[in-house]
């Protein structure tokens, strides 16, 4: 029989272990979410992240080592984003018929996201660097990181804030929308995609394809709106 530490050396060097861990943690999260009757706080992404972070910390594994295995899952984000064209195409008649309302609400949402993030952070005394990293938090990660870099913030901090915003939106969004009485699938999807990009879109798609189509579109449009507006607004106020 081999020494347990030799087995660990093999396992931690191969992508197999952390790829399997990622899938298993997400399965566990999904199981818990289903068993709880879909309690918002038991969001599968949140549970999976907590489980994986806990196990990596306990075993003394770095994020870089973990990512060598998990990158195969991470890579699929690109093709999945391209695939959002399908629900958008299937629902395009509904998108076109509300185009003006869509653009107006998207711009209101985009400005609210930037304004309140920077405003609240500033009121509570966040450093200038943190404010810059916080400003594009509702935008999909690659664009948000580019915007932060342009402002002079920390792209790696932005990446984390973007993910946290996504999870928060997926967890708090649906109950909030029900609380304020918004029943229109288009409005629900648009709000989730504007505020919490792909993670919000994943949540919207689980419930309704029309909401998913509006959410995916909102994610793309908010990335564009924020990339154009934020650098201009920042120079105006700071």
């Amino acid at each position: 029989m081999a020494d347990i530490s030799e087995v660990w050396v093999y396992l931690s060097a191969s992508p197999l272990l952390f790829l399997t861990l990622t899938l298993a943690a997400f399965q566990a999260g999904t199981w818990l979410y289903d068993r709880s009757g879909h309690m918002p706080f038991l969001n599968p992404v949140l549970t999976a992240v907590i489980l994986v972070v806990g196990l990596l910390t306990l075993s003394g594994t770095t994020y870089e080592t973990y990512f060598e295995g998990a990158q195969f899952v991470h890579f699929l984000l690109g093709p999945a984003t391209v695939a959002l064209a399908i629900p958008l195409y299937r629902q395009f008649d509904r998108v076109r018929s509300s185009a003006l309302a869509l653009i107006t609400s998207l711009l209101c949402g985009s400005l609210t996201a930037m304004g309140t993030a920077v405003g609240l952070g500033w009121l509570l005394g966040a450093s200038r660097e943190t404010l810059m990293s916080l400003a594009p938090k509702s935008v999909t990660a690659p664009v948000a990181m580019g915007i932060t870099e342009q402002l002079g913030g920390l792209p790696s901090l932005t990446a984390v804030l973007v993910i946290l915003t996504g999870i928060l939106g997926a967890v708090l969004g649906p109950p909030l929308l029900t609380l304020i009485g918004v029943k229109d699938w288009r409005a629900r999807g648009l709000a989730l995609g504007t505020a919490s990009h792909g993670i919000g879109t994943a949540r919207a798609l689980q419930v309704n394809e029309l909401a998913g189509a509006f959410s995916g579109l909102a994610m793309g449009l908010n990335a564009l709106a924020t990339a154009i507006l934020l650098p201009i607004l920042w120079r105006l106020f700071f």
Partner: protein
């Protein structure tokens, strides 16, 4: 199946090349989404296997964010320095953005022609 995956990856690749070449402020995959949408519009329908591959990817979209989410662990230090303003700003701003976007959209869309009959329950 394979041809559908090739089509999706090709759209992404062209999207990446296009945005990089012109220095556009959108990510390559989002440009790829626009390209695939244009192709579907020209074709006039969603080919069965393209629909199947896309639905499989999108059904598991949430899973794909787990590796990036675990990245939080590499930044506990940075988050710790400004934890109060960061948590208040993230929670407050996310709630405000969702409420504002949804309320403006539902008012404007109701004022427009098509209203929705179904009610959400999730």
């Amino acid at each position: 199946m394979l041809s559908a995956l090739t089509l999706i990856l090709t759209c992404q690749l062209i999207g990446e090349l296009f945005t990089r070449f012109f220095g556009l402020p959108v990510p390559g995959p989002v440009a790829g989404m626009v390209i695939l949408f244009a192709l579907l519009a020209i074709h006039g329908s969603v080919p069965r296997d393209v629909g199947a591959v896309a639905d499989t990817l999108l059904k598991n979209l949430a899973l794909l964010f787990v590796p990036a989410g675990v990245g939080v662990m590499a930044h506990f230090g940075l988050l710790g320095q400004d934890w109060l303003p960061i948590s208040v700003a993230l929670i407050g701003s996310t709630l405000a953005t969702i409420a504002v976007t949804a309320l403006v959209m539902s008012r404007l869309a109701r004022a427009g022609k098509s209203a929705d009959g179904e009610t959400p329950h999730g």
